[in-house]
């Protein structure tokens, strides 16, 4: 084979390999869930990276934060610039790694952690893990979150090359997979996932009797880690329990959190104990019969918590900052547009 032909072959081969890499990258993007249809929660985590990272308060936790707190209310009422880093069934180690990652980007004054996930001592569902982890950017925190969350049947490499995990979606691709191929729409408002529906509470399931009410070792380990990393970064940690009527928040669990907060000089607010003060009406303020609040309930809860934060956490009112105010004006517009859109859809239904 003459030299010229050899060089030509090498160049052509390299081009084929480059095309292969491009195709695989495109297929990966195509097969990965976009979370733009019925289930949108998986898109929340990734939205944080587009933000100006200068928040005063960062919420971390599961659905009990991203559906129950409205950052816009905190801004409008108290000038608190806040963000929610929450995702569906976000496990405590995922919350820890998200806190760790957030603290690398910025140093908020307060981190608010919802303690419901203390009840899970081991990974629960791969699909939920993915909703949290796939949205994270690559960093040691993401690696840690993956390692802590993986099931035995999973492999780390499936997170590195998601096509290995999602390839089987080739026969279930939907219009949204093509529509959002080049990028997702924004689904959250500073991490808040708006719900407008109303499904009143008419029945609360009888709580199950548990074998043990002690939180697991891993839960304690990561709660301590969250506490430590906040202390190391001079960030105040506030523990909360959102006012969901079920799944049950057992008094035995609450006692353990109360003790922990006391021992470590942390603030802990169990909103279940002050639903009347908040003004929650579970016949109008929940969209799923008591599990989560709708916008009306979330606004009431946020307003109440805003007062608490302003009183107890020494937070500045930043409404006089022109750039931040302008930013929030835009966010406010987007928020009300989303609200109007949802209301329209809601009326159509």
């Amino acid at each position: 084979m003459d030299k010229k032909r050899k060089v030509k072959n090498i160049i052509l081969s390299l081009l084929v390999v480059a095309a292969l890499i491009l195709i695989l990258a495109a297929l990966t993007r195509l097969f990965m869930p976009k979370y733009m249809g019925e289930v949108k929660e998986g898109a929340l985590i990734g939205e944080y990276y587009d933000e100006e990272k200068d928040f005063d308060v960062v919420f971390v936790g599961d659905c009990e934060v991203y559906e129950n707190f409205v950052p816009l209310v905190l801004w409008e009422e108290h000038g608190i610039n806040s963000y929610i880093r929450g995702s569906a069934q976000q496990l405590i180690w995922q919350s820890y790694y998200l806190t760790e990652e957030t603290l690398k980007y910025e140093k908020p004054d307060v981190v608010v952690f919802n303690v419901l996930s203390m009840k899970y001592n081991e990974p629960q569902k791969e699909a939920y893990n993915r909703m949290t982890i796939d949205g994270m950017r690559w960093s040691p925190s993401k690696v840690g979150a993956i390692k802590a969350s993986m099931f035995e049947s999973e492999s780390f490499i499936e997170y590195v090359f998601p096509i290995l995990r999602f390839h089987s979606r080739w026969n279930e691709l939907e219009r949204e997979d093509f529509r959002y191929f080049f990028g997702n729409e924004k689904v959250g408002d500073n991490g808040y996932y708006m719900q407008l529906g109303v499904v009143p509470v008419d029945y609360i399931p009888e709580p199950k009797i548990l074998g043990t009410y002690e939180f697991g070792e891993a839960s304690w380990e990561y709660l301590n880690k969250i506490k430590d990393i906040c202390a190391e970064n001079d960030v105040e940690l506030v523990l909360i329990k959102a006012p969901s009527l079920y799944p049950e928040w057992y008094p035995e669990w609450d006692e353990q959190i109360v003790d922990f907060a006391e021992e470590n000089d942390l603030k802990y607010v169990n909103f279940l104990e002050c639903t009347d003060e908040i003004g929650l009406d579970f016949s109008t303020d929940t969209y799923d019969a008591g599990l989560h609040l709708n916008l009306s309930g979330a606004e009431k809860l946020t307003s109440y918590f805003g007062d608490y934060l302003a009183e107890n956490c020494d937070l500045e009112d930043r409404r006089d900052e022109p750039e931040l105010s302008a930013l929030w004006e835009n966010k406010k517009t987007a928020f009300y547009e989303r609200k109007a859109e949802l209301e329209e859809k809601f009326c159509e239904k």
């Binding site: 072959n9 052509l12 695989l24 096509i163």
Partner: protein
């Protein structure tokens, strides 16, 4: 470490890099270390580590026995040469016989030890279950407890390969290997360790120990073969497995036409699984520059069962023929039997009886070689029955062909191929159901319970396969069939792709995409090992 696991693929990538980046003279040592690591990895779980030592026992005993046999032969040759003038013929003959017996003793000892290990580990529980069955027949409740052995990975393959080597050395076909580590590499060459092919030492030695420089064409062709193997295994076999498992797993639900469907699916799954595994093996060896023999030659195009077995798992058939069938056929008891039967049963029967006894023995062993169970034994004997039947019917065939001039015509060839395929599918049902009475019962339902319309109407979608799955399977099978058809006239890769390396890279890329997208792997699919790994 399954061939289809990410760990194995990472292991391969590291090996390929180390193999060509370090000085080439160390390549055989690297391959040996890789093989031992690969093998040890299979026994990494607590309580299983002991299993690793069986291969070491086989390596050491076979190496030493071969060296002793060789030494004995050399002493004999030296003695005869030195005393050529002084020794008379009878003394020389007696001396040679004495030495041969010594060699035979060493050979027998090693064979008994190694086949003994294989028999004990693999067949003890089978024997115990049969003893318990007999005890139960006599109304006793007593039962012998089963034994919990760790069955070493690929024990049948490495034992057969090692013993083949020893017998060849005994027969003086080649000299024993001096370097024990080189022999260890021959036995533990990892790609073929778990599902063959069963290589002969003289086939492999030339390429196994010599340095290989990086040759882009050879390496890319090896990778292409590996990917082709993965395509067969992951896209076709493992997807087909879903349907096969469903049908086989519920005989009360899936009878009649389902059984027919299951048998066809299983034939395809087994072919794609086994040949896929062998393609990966040969491809890895090709990347390393090592020559491994082919193990398949389009078996489903065979026109008779005998031909099928010359084309399916070729190395196993060759091993049995060379080291079992011929020795049994020409053994003293066999010759005595031949003489006796000719005298007492007549020339025609007498001539065949010893051959048939040897054939039956070989097929019985071939049957139970994959697994210690009656279904495998019956499967082996079933093959034997059809082979012997076709031998016996030869005169009838001749008459038929004289009368009807169809021999060699395309329709007749197609008929022969379909007939062979149908017989093989029927026999393989014993492998599927793994229970002799159930197999016969289910086979019977194909003719007694006609439910084909129901199967086509809704049954096809109830066995775990969706329309897209069937499309992938149909396309995959069509590709397999096309490649086989092209392969009738020579190596497909050489004929189609060899001219331009860009084509090879493109084919590799396409295969990789197809595997990654359409492969039945990861969450939602059961990680299944290759069927022959279990043997």
């Amino acid at each position: 470490m399954l061939f289809t696991s990410y760990t194995f693929i990472a292991f391969l990538i590291i090996l390929f890099l180390v193999y060509y980046l370090l000085p080439h003279k160390w390549q055989w040592v690297i391959t040996l270390c890789a093989g031992l690591f690969f093998y040890a990895y299979a026994f990494k779980d607590p309580g299983k580590q002991f299993g690793f030592f069986f291969i070491i026992i086989t390596i050491i005993t076979t190496y030493l026995s071969a060296r002793l046999i060789d030494r004995n032969l050399k002493i004999q040759q030296e003695y005869v040469k030195t005393n050529k003038e002084t020794l008379d013929r009878d003394v020389k003959k007696a001396y040679k016989e004495k030495m041969r017996k010594k060699r035979l003793l060493i050979l027998t000892g090693c064979l008994v030890l190694n086949f003994g290990i294989l028999a004990v580990l693999k067949y003890t529980n089978f024997a115990i279950s049969n003893v318990n069955g007999v005890i139960k027949l006599f109304g006793s409740e007593a039962a012998v407890g089963s034994v919990d052995f760790v069955l070493p990975l690929g024990i049948s393959f490495y034992t057969f390969q090692s013993m083949g080597y020893l017998i060849d050395v005994y027969r003086g076909k080649y000299e024993s290997v001096r370097n024990p580590f080189k022999f260890a590499l021959f036995v533990s060459f990892f790609p073929q360790l778990i599902q063959g092919p069963i290589s002969r030492y003289d086939d492999m030695a030339d390429s196994l120990f010599v340095p290989h420089s990086f040759d882009f064409t050879r390496v890319s062709r090896g990778i292409e073969r590996i990917l082709w193997g993965y395509f067969k295994k992951v896209v076709i076999a493992d997807r087909m497995l879903v349907g096969v498992k469903e049908i086989i797993g519920a005989p009360d639900t899936y009878f009649g036409f389902y059984v027919f469907l299951g048998a066809i699916f299983y034939a395809l799954e087994l072919y794609a699984d086994f040949t896929g595994g062998i393609d990966i093996t040969i491809g890895i060896a090709e990347v390393l520059g090592i020559k491994v023999r082919e193990n398949f030659e389009r078996p489903y195009f065979s026109k008779s069962i005998k031909e099928y077995w010359r084309r399916w798992h070729i190395s196993l058939g060759a091993w049995f023929t060379e080291y079992l069938f011929y020795p049994v056929s020409v053994s003293k008891p066999s010759l005595k039997l031949s003489k006796w039967s000719r005298a007492h049963l007549g020339e025609k029967v007498g001539k065949r009886l010893p051959v048939y006894i040897a054939t039956i023995s070989v097929w019985l062993i071939t049957g139970i070689w994959p697994g210690a169970a009656w279904n495998f034994a019956v499967w082996g004997l079933g093959n034997c029955f059809f082979i012997m039947l076709s031998e016996e019917l030869e005169p009838l065939y001749d008459k038929f062909h004289k009368r009807f001039n169809v021999l060699g015509t395309t329709p007749w060839k197609i008929f022969q191929i379909l007939r062979t395929f149908a017989i093989m599918c029927s026999l393989r049902m014993l492998d599927c159901y793994r229970n002799v009475p159930v197999t016969f019962k289910m086979f019977g339902t194909m003719f007694t319970r006609f439910n084909a319309p129901e199967v086509f109407r809704e049954g096809l979608w109830n066995i775990g396969l969706s329309i897209p799955d069937y499309i992938v399977l149909l396309c995959g099978t069509a590709v397999l069939f096309t490649v086989s058809m092209i392969g009738r006239h020579g190596d497909v890769r050489k004929r189609v792709f060899a001219k331009n390396p860009v084509v090879t890279v493109s084919v590799c890329s396409i295969l990789l995409i197809l595997i990654l997208v359409f492969g039945a792997y990861g969450i939602g699919y059961d990680a299944s090992q290759f069927i022959y790994n279990q043997f």
